[in-house]
Amino acid sequence: MAKNEAITQRKKKEKKDPVNIIAPLVVLAIIYVGLEIGLRVFDVPAYVMPTPTNILIGTIKSFDIILPDLLFTIKIICIGFCIAIPAGIVLAALFSQFDIIVKAMQPVVIWLVITPMITLIPLMTLWLGTDPNLRVIVVIIQATPIICLNTLNGFIHVEQEKLEFAKSIGASKFETFIHITFMNALPQVFTGIKLGCIFSTIGAVSADFVSRGMGLGDRIIKFLKYSNFEQSYGCIVLIALIGISLYTIVSAIEKRIVLWKK
């Protein structure tokens, strides 16, 4: 029993260790103060980079203008992301059932990952019309392949011994997939999803840049046109925050589920 307690105690310690939270905050504060001082001392013009305080003030002042675009971008990213995760995993699961399909599809998926979706957006506007909600499709096409690729990688690299174990206990093909192959790939699935966070954000903002009219990407350009550099930078920070929040949420879920990694 003593050992058990020791382990739970260690886990609790890891969770509550304040250094993990304080250290990044300190770095953030140093960057903030450093930029503030540096930009003022060297008299950097606002169109190169406004001081952090001015960015903060400008953004808060214009927040009522930014808010609808912020919500729109969050909506696009979240919907796209939520469709891309199951799509990527299901596709990978289907591909992994047959060696020949893995061999055939892997280059295609890699090709899809590499192609920057921003190049396709003008064409897609042409095919699909200009409804801003269609930007979800850009996010899906951008995020699905990377999730699929990582998941597939996990699905096809299962130790032979684990499969032999499944065989020795008479597990069906489906049971083997659920209990062995999928669980074995779970860390890689999460890597894929985390990369998907980044790709979704990139996809949504590039769609804004090209299609215009709505979204944080569009708002950045609008602010720039009227020389509102503080607000432009504010939007960039907000976009980064969306990405970071998604990433943090996924990491937190991963830590709760993938307990067997040191």
Binding site: K3, F165, G170
Partner: protein
């Protein structure tokens, strides 16, 4: 004479085909009768095909020719899935599922074999108790030592109450001290559970300590060259066995056989 539980008739296994020139005969015409509560040890040099033979007994592979008989019923060249419940397989390097706790590793057996109910739940605890790891129920494999992992592996192979326990070099991946300790423990487990056990090893001392009968295999293609009855009573098998005259006699005999094997 005790009941014949399992018998193997003229089993052979080959890989490849003569046409492609990669034909390889791994085991050849192996026959053996296994009686209830017997501890059988198969000795052979590494790479002689003894693991392949065990994989056939464990239902992981099928034999090329030959047949097997379980409780007097002919089951052909491959153990059918519904009969796998009668066997428990212990792998060389524990082969625990890292994403499941010690308890979870035992539970998956019951789940896949569809053994539900209170008595099976209780059996999980009983088996962990037998291998002395009840306190480590909720611990993940990566937090356990090599010997402890292997003990969970043994508990896992026993949890569904199989008739025959198959051990594929269960102590092979352990350090010398743990190996010694675990071999005595294996002896105790056998005494306690009264199972029929078939074990493969390449360690003569271990073989004599544990076995009722020892089969010595030749190198590839493996055939049984010797069958040795170990007539040391169970009561005399303990840490003092090294002083037993019969033990040393057998040891000498088997070592000579193995030296002559090629």
């Amino acid at each position: 004479m005790a009941n014949k539980v399992f018998s193997v008739k003229e089993i052979s296994k080959s890989f490849g085909s003569e046409k492609n020139g990669n034909y390889m005969e791994v085991i050849k015409n192996i026959s053996m009768d296994i009686y209830e509560k017997e501890f059988i040890v198969i000795l052979g040099n590494s790479g002689c095909g003894k693991s392949t033979y065990l994989k056939i007994l464990g239902g992981i592979e099928s034999a090329t020719t030959g047949s097997m008989e379980l409780n007097g019923e002919n089951i052909g060249a491959c153990i059918p899935p519904e009969k796998l419940k009668k066997f428990g397989f212990v792998f060389q390097n524990n082969n625990l599922l890292p994403w499941r706790t010690a308890e979870g590793n035992l539970r998956i057996m019951l789940k896949i074999m569809k053994l539900k109910g209170e008595q099976w739940e209780k059996r999980i605890d009983e088996m962990l108790e037998i291998v002395g790891l009840l306190d480590y129920k909720k611990v993940y494999p990566h937090e356990l030592s090599g010997g402890m992992k292997q003990r969970v592996g043994i508990a896992r192979a026993l949890v569904h109450d199989p008739d025959i326990l198959i051990l594929d070099q269960p102590l092979g991946a352990l350090d010398a001290i743990t190996r010694k300790m675990l071999s005595y423990e294996l002896l105790n487990i056998w005494k306690k559970t009264q199972k029929t056990i078939v074990m493969v090893t390449n360690n003569v001392d271990e073989a004599i300590l544990l076995a009722n009968r020892i089969f010595v295999l030749s190198n590839k293609p493996a055939v049984i060259t010797h069958e040795i009855e170990v007539d040391i009573p169970v009561e005399e098998r303990n840490t003092m066995i090294g002083q037993n005259a019969r033990y040393n006699e057998l040891r000498e005999q088997i070592n000579n056989i193995i030296r002559a094997t090629r």
